[in-house]
């Protein structure tokens, strides 16, 4: 039996290939600048990963993942900003020791909400819990009342709009539309130089692989199968004795937490956080990363994110005025022609050829790749 609670054999190969690609191939072939770009892209991969569980498996399309990305990112950024706003660094201000944007907005002491973010432990907990609890509240309110599908998508979109206006409007506390810029050190360790970027990159890849394992675990658990079942026949699941709402809330929360981790890593890697990630446009773009990778494919989410972002960067470098056509076209093509994205193309065209190549050399029993045979039930 090649299977366990995390992956079957072919998935293991896939994860290893991805790990080698991220840990060995990219760092060897890219300079630090490009590697840091990859690190930035990978922060979106966390969001895409969450969307695979929430949207791909659970069928819940959230157009507000930017909210959670933003909450995670802002929690991290608040900690970093406080560290960067030491009395020494800010002596030019009328109130030294508070973040610069507060000073510009006539705030003379650190707001209560900010106080606990002096502690890294609290910050890390907040990165997980704030978005998690927020998702729990939204999810409970919506799913217990059976709001689903398009309605859920539109309401999450409105939540993203509300949060953006709030962040922009409360600029004394949030940095407004500028966001929190000029983040410098983490516990005294400068996050800006190249060697720090490399360390952060590997740390992030490690976190991403950990999240992939969590996603794999969820997928291979009965909960993963219930999510699929729910997407198809919600009533049947309900009348098999499950509280459908609870499962949806779980999927939504885990997606939110993944997004928040991505946001926190973004703040670390890029050195700032701004409301432009919270809004509707980035949230929808994050959905498209998932769609391009294949909404049912955990690894596809990572590849999809990388592919779209590489395309975006290189298109906008060579044809700055045309990349929207490319991006728009990509959306349409994927939805129309490849609803299962890269993973679908792989599964439909590439995998069968590889299988044929292998099986022509050494025949395998039917269905050995099928994860559902895990129980060792007699095959036909």
């Amino acid at each position: 039996m090649t299977d366990n609670r995390f992956f079957n054999r072919s998935e293991l190969i896939g994860i290893l290939v991805l790990a080698v690609f991220l840990v060995v191939v990219l760092p060897l072939t890219l300079d630090v600048f490009r590697l840091n770009l990859v690190a930035k892209y990978l922060t979106y991969a966390f969001v895409a990963l969450g969307l695979v569980i929430c949207w791909g498996y659970g069928g819940i399309l959230s157009l507000g993942q930017g909210v959670f990305f933003g909450l995670g990112g802002y929690c991290m950024a608040m900690f970093l900003k406080l560290e960067a706003s030491s009395v020494e660094n800010t002596k030019i201000q009328s109130t030294p020791g508070i973040p610069d944007f507060m000073d510009w907005n006539q705030i003379t002491s650190l707001p209560l909400l900010w106080q606990p973010f002096h502690s890294l432990t609290f910050t890390i907990l907040a990165i997980i819990l704030v978005p998690g609890i927020f998702a729990l509240i939204i999810g409970t309110a919506m799913f217990k009342r059976r709001v689903g599908g398009t309605y859920f998508a539109i309401i999450t979109q409105a939540v993203a709009a509300i949060l953006t206006i709030l962040i922009v409007g409360q600029q004394g506390y949030t940095g407004g539309i500028n966001g929190m810029t000029d983040l410098r050190t983490l516990k005294g360790w400068d996050i800006r130089p190249d060697h720090a970027k490399i360390v952060l990159y590997f740390f992030e890849v490690g976190l991403l692989l950990a999240c992939i394992m969590i996603a794999q675990f969820v997928r291979h658990s009965k909960l993963g199968r219930i999510l699929v079942a729910m997407r198809e026949k919600e009533d049947r699941v309900r009348f098999s004795g499950y509280s459908v709402a609870n499962f949806k809330i779980f999927a939504f929360c885990i997606a939110a937490v993944f997004a928040a981790i991505g946001g926190a890593m973004f703040a670390l890697n890029v050195g700032f956080m701004s409301p432009s990630f919270v809004g509707i446009v980035p949230s929808i773009e994050m959905v498209i990363y998932t769609a391009v990778g294949g909404r049912l494919s955990i690894l596809g989410a990572v590849y999809g994110t990388l592919l779209v972002n590489f395309a975006k960067t290189s298109l906008s470098e060579s044809f700055p005025e045309l990349w929207l056509f490319g991006l728009g076209g990509l959306f349409i093509t994927v939805v129309l022609a490849f609803p299962n994205g890269l993973a679908g193309i792989w599964g439909d065209y590439v995998q069968p050829r590889i299988d044929r190549l292998i099986s022509s050399r050494k025949p395998k029993p039917e269905g050995w790749t099928d994860n559902s045979v895990a129980d060792g039930a007699p095959a036909e």
Partner: protein, 251 residues
């Protein structure tokens, strides 16, 4: 508390049940009682409210007024999944199975363990689960199709699979909505055999149009018409009830 005083008498007691959709009363002041181990068939013309009654019992539709007591518990205020946990299982009219999962996984999901979020995460496919799934699969004639994706099954096999999914829950009250509709003659015979086997030790509420089938299995028949009971009793009794004949053959 009228109903509370006769708890042990009936498995299911439906009293003064009414539901209206924008003024239209699909079920109107309906009362009936089902005994332990009784097989009750509900018949009636289209639009009589048969499916709505099942919807009301399993919580899919909320009653406007009235009560449904199951083993003394009031179902009208419970959530669907709680109703299932008290021992009510329901099969839908169209086969309602998970096409993207295998037969094994379909049955496994209905296995009554690990129904909470945490439980589902930590659920292990142990020997007890496997044995039970194989046992049920054999009962529903699908033991050699366990690893097949469910969407490849024939219509009849899908119906059986759904019945199997209920069996694995081991409910005290089994509600079946047209279990033999759309089946071939041989499948129909096999289904009757299946039903006769599984109705032992539990009560069954069946909606069915096939009179031959009804005669085969029913202990008692309830005839619904326009959301109300037209007639109730043994098959012989209702077959000769002039009101029933009027409804079925009249006009």
């Amino acid at each position: 508390m009228l109903v509370g005083q006769q708890p042990r008498e009936f498995l299911l007691a439906v009293e003064a049940l009414t539901v209206s959709f924008d003024g239209f009363k699909a079920v109107n002041d309906l009362s009936f009682y089902v005994d332990e181990n009784e097989i009750r068939v509900i018949i009636g013309p289209n639009g009589a409210g048969k499916t709505t009654v099942l919807d009301l019992i399993c919580g899919k539709t909320r009653a406007t007024s009235g009560s449904i007591q199951f083993r003394g518990k009031e179902l009208t205020r419970m959530k669907e999944n709680e109703i299932v946990k008290t021992g009510v299982g329901r099969k839908f009219q169209n086969p309602s199975i998970y096409d993207d999962l295998t037969v094994f996984e379909n049955l496994e999901i209905s296995y009554p363990r690990g129904r909470s979020v945490f439980g589902a995460l930590t659920f292990t496919r142990d020997a007890a689960v496997r044995d039970r799934v194989h046992e049920v699969a054999e009962m529903i004639f699908l033991q050699d199709r366990l690893n097949m994706s469910a969407d490849l099954l024939s219509h009849g096999q899908k119906q059986w699979l759904e019945i199997g999914m209920l069996l694995i829950q081991d409910p005290d009250l089994l509600m079946l909505d047209e279990p033999v509709a759309g089946m071939s003659v041989s499948e129909r015979a096999k289904t009757a055999e299946l039903l006769n086997r599984i109705i032992k030790n539990r009560s069954v509420l069946v909606i069915e149009h096939d009179m031959k089938f009804v005669e085969d299995i029913a202990h008692k028949v309830t005839v619904l018409h326009q959301g109300q009971i037209l007639s109730e009793g043994t098959m012989d009794k209702v077959k000769n009830d002039p009101k029933v004949i009027e409804v079925y053959l009249g006009h």
